[in-house]
């Protein structure tokens, strides 16, 4: 999931105003909420946080894979990886645009990302150390993202749901590309197989963390689910991810790094070890292996690009003034 621990601002049921009651009734009836329509302030704010965090994750998420574009092993792999990372920038664009319909500009959201007021997914603070990581990220990270994003195609806010439809199509392609890299590696030379296993070892638990901690006690989750901006609990999605991924790992001949992983006949699900939640919170606090590099790279790109954006804006202003002058002269 690219949105973790999004705080929700919602009233308790008893306080609902007539407008809020009508709004909730529309959501319960499965209607989509569109930008110009009335919505509770808490719904708007929560969505901005969630969509913004998702958008930030897409663009920060360019960096770990971008790390290997210049070292991709063949021309075709380079083209595929570059196109994939470019898709992620595109997802960022759709999502910032969806957020703009809620009254917040892309620049404002960037400012919040750069100043640390807004977060991006914890997963992108882990390093990519070998080419197999390009496979593991596509397979596991995009796979985990899909678990969350497929249901979000039915989310209550129209622009978000529509952005998610496009995103999901591309993400599922990315996941297959990632799995194709893993297949090549797992069935390649001994060194390649070791790289593949090592990538799975390093990305397994961080991928489980992507769904966020157990939300059975969270009031934020309950409100977000009532508003249909969160469709499943974190634990449901995590279980679904494990259930789908374990057989895929077996097919690759790789070992999931969890000695207690076992099929539970009664539950019809795998039992598995929870990730280290202390580590998760440390990463959110900024103490992950790559937090400084990732955020630093985004801030540097933005700051270094200021003169470029200013130049384009200045030209646009001059061109507009010239057009106006020409029009005035003609009249």
């Amino acid at each position: 999931m690219y949105a973790q621990m999004v705080k929700s601002d919602g009233p308790s049921d008893a306080e609902l105003s007539p407008e809020e009651r009508a709004f909730q009734a529309r959501i319960d009836a499965g209607e989509k909420i569109e930008p110009k329509e009335w919505m509770p302030e808490g719904y708007r704010k929560t969505l901005i946080r969630q969509i913004g965090q998702h958008a930030h994750s897409e663009i920060v998420g360019q960096l770990p894979e971008g790390n290997w574009i210049t070292r991709a092993p063949t021309l075709e792999r380079k083209a595929i990886l570059l196109a994939k990372v470019q898709d992620e920038a595109g997802h960022g664009l759709y999502l910032y645009s969806a957020a703009e319909t809620l009254g917040v500009s892309r620049d404002e959201l960037f400012e919040k990302l750069h100043s640390g007021k807004m977060k991006y997914s914890s997963i992108f603070n882990y390093p990519t150390l070998s080419w197999a990581d390009m496979g593991a990220i596509g397979w596991l990270v995009d796979g985990a993202a899909i678990m969350n994003q497929v249901p979000l195609q039915r989310t209550s806010y129209g622009p978000y749901a529509r952005a998610m439809v496009r995103i999901c199509k591309e993400e599922s392609f990315h996941q297959r590309q990632g799995y194709s890299i893993m297949m090549k590696m797992a069935r390649g030379t001994e060194a390649q197989r070791e790289m593949a296993q090592d990538a799975l070892n390093r990305f397994w638990y961080p991928s489980l963390m992507m769904f966020g901690p157990s939300d059975k006690d969270s009031v934020h989750s309950a409100q977000s689910m009532a508003w249909k901006i969160k469709m499943n609990t974190n634990d449901e999605l995590r279980q679904k991810f494990v259930d789908e991924t374990v057989p895929q790992a077996e097919y690759l001949g790789l070992t999931v790094p969890d000695p207690d992983l076992s099929w539970n006949e009664d539950r019809g699900h795998y039992d598995f070890t929870q990730p280290d939640w202390d580590e998760f919170f440390e990463v959110l606090r900024g103490n992950g292996p790559c937090n400084e590099e990732r955020l630093g790279a985004r801030v540097k790109a933005w700051d270094d690009g200021a003169w470029f954006r200013d130049g384009l804006n200045a030209y646009a202003d001059k061109a507009a003034a010239r057009r106006l002058a020409a029009k005035t002269a003609a009249e």
Binding site: T70, W307, D310, L312
Partner: protein, 282 residues
């Protein structure tokens, strides 16, 4: 721009519109083999090295739209590289694939012009380098579309569609940044002055070019200069940038394997996996 070749395309050379050696006698002409191979490497290495430099920007662009556009251009150029180098391998007849040529040659056998291997620097450098090359590249591909080699003509016709757009885009950015703020103007002028001595190499002809011209495969590079001058003057004029008054043919040699120090580092990075794990399939 659908830049990405289909993952499952078995033969990338068929993307160039060519259908086989039998239709293009130049490809199997033993007398032409050495210069034709060299010339095809010049084409493929130019696009390979420039695409590599552009791909370094991915995730670090000054605006999301720009990040996407840089990646798109890089993707187009990787596609061109696959076609030119695949044909080079075919002409050479030693069984080398496009990947073999890209990943297993050393600096002295690379044939790109030096301008393209220079580090990205800021967006002024990246944009100006792109523009100076695009104007040459578009003029060249235009002529190559009428090549007596049907394979070359096919690749050129496909590439020209994309490169026409590259030139449109880089020209537009040069105008906007040249006539933007004082700072953006100064950066663009400084960069133009710095790159000017590298531009002459694109138009220097040698024996390889003469052999290609004689066979009707490619125009002599010097013939492309008037069109390049025209485009450059027109765009720089609108951009309020001054054409440098210094020699253009100072830094040269890339076309024959004499490079700057920068190329070695590009190859060290690009070729790492192929060199570290020889024979592995990826």
């Amino acid at each position: 721009m659908p830049s990405l070749p289909d993952m499952t395309t078995p033969k990338v050379e068929t993307l160039g519109g060519g259908t086989g050696v039998e239709q293009d006698p130049h490809v199997s002409d033993a007398a032409l083999r050495a210069p034709f191979f060299d010339w095809l490497c010049r084409m493929g290495d130019n696009t390979l090295i420039l695409s590599h430099r552009l791909s370094e920007w991915c995730g670090h662009g000054p605006a999301l739209e720009e990040d996407i556009a840089l990646a798109n251009t890089a993707l187009d150029l990787i596609g061109h590289t696959q076609m030119w180098l695949a044909l080079a391998g075919e002409v050479e007849g030693q069984g080398r694939s496009a990947d073999d040529l890209a990943y297993l040659r050393d600096v002295m056998t690379f044939r790109n012009v030096q301008l393209l291997e220079l580090p990205n620097g800021d967006m002024a450098r990246t944009t100006m380098r792109q523009f100076l090359f695009d104007a040459f590249h578009a003029a060249l591909l235009e002529k190559l579309s009428g090549s007596t080699s049907l394979r070359v003509a096919g690749i050129a016709a496909k590439a020209l569609k994309e490169v026409t757009y590259h030139l449109e885009r880089s020209s537009d950015l040069v105008v906007r940044l040249g006539d933007g703020t004082e700072d953006s103007h100064a950066r663009m002028q400084t960069t133009l002055d710095a790159f000017w001595p590298y531009t002459g190499e694109m138009f220097l002809g040698d024996d390889v070019d003469a052999a290609m011209a004689e066979a009707g495969i490619a125009p002599p590079p010097q013939d492309l200069r008037p069109e390049w001058d025209r485009v450059i003057r027109e765009v720089l004029d609108e951009a309020t940038l001054a054409i440098p008054e210094r020699r253009a043919d100072v830094h040269k040699g890339g076309k024959t394997g004499r490079h700057t120090e920068h190329l070695g580092y590009i190859l060290a990075e690009m070729q790492f996996l192929q060199r570290a794990y020889p024979g592995a399939s990826w």
